[in-house]
């Protein structure tokens, strides 16, 4: 059964991180607001982790469903040489 954002939001941080660790699909890494951030997709929503210390201490976790917010994590791909 797919989890929805509201269900995830109601979990403890420890449980949220366990779920991300075991089921999250990694999308990318970025630098924002002086933090290193990681973005994951979990079922129908996205989870963005802001680190005070990378992979150790989390400053905050943002949840959203809009795919537009993931643009900054996607690196441009040169498709010139991919065409037939």
């Amino acid at each position: 059964m797919l989890m929805i954002l509201e269900e995830f939001e109601s979990l403890t941080e420890s449980r949220q991180l366990d779920l991300l660790y075991t089921q999250g699909v990694y999308i990318g890494k970025c630098a924002k607001e002086g933090c290193t951030t990681l973005l994951f997709q979990l079922d129908s929503f996205y989870v963005e982790l802001f680190y005070l210390k990378y992979r150790c201490y989390i400053k905050r976790m943002d949840l959203f469903t809009s795919p537009e917010a993931i643009d900054e994590y996607l690196q441009p791909v040169d498709i010139e040489n991919l065409a037939g």
């Binding site: 660790y21 999250g24 990378y54 992979r55 201490y57």
Partner: protein
């Protein structure tokens, strides 16, 4: 009088993310007396180094590979490593941020371990022990005994 120290156990680590390289280097710090971690940011360079080790009949106790690597990605590297008779039984771990079942199966099919990169301090604290768990039993014992 000359004291000779036992040779260090060699761990090879390939990852192009400087933050993850530092994180794993730090995690092995407590074993620095008996483990030497050699890291590469490019898969092809790591493979060249491994080929050099094979020529010298030297074997690392563990090879840790990120999946997304420039030059040669971790999965291609693992496939190549398994074709080299010298490394046929060398412990290898794919170490990646995503826990994709297909990647896990890929690792399993090539007799390699699979570890997801940590997201928190609690998970971080466990990774060195999880890495060492992949080493052969006699080496695990030596590494841990020497720590004491």
């Amino acid at each position: 009088m000359t004291l000779s120290l036992p040779p260090k156990h060699l761990v090879i680590y390939a990852d192009d993310d400087p933050d993850d390289l530092e994180l794993v280097r730090d995690s092995f710090d407590k074993y620095a007396q008996n483990v030497e971690l050699i890291s590469f940011e490019d898969g092809r360079k790591a493979l060249q180094y491994l080929l050099g080790l094979a020529q010298q009949r030297k074997t690392p106790c563990l090879i840790i590979l990120d999946i997304n690597l420039p030059g040669l990605d971790g999965k291609e590297m693992l496939k190549t490593i398994r074709t080299i008779p010298h490394f046929k039984d060398t412990p290898v771990v794919l170490f990646t941020t995503s826990s994709q079942p297909s990647d896990k199966a890929f690792a399993r099919n090539l007799d390699a371990g699979f570890m997801t990169k940590p997201l928190s301090y609690e998970q971080m604290d466990l990774i060195t022990e999880q890495f060492i768990e992949h080493c052969a039993e006699d080496i695990r014992k030596k590494i841990r005994r020497q720590l004491g």
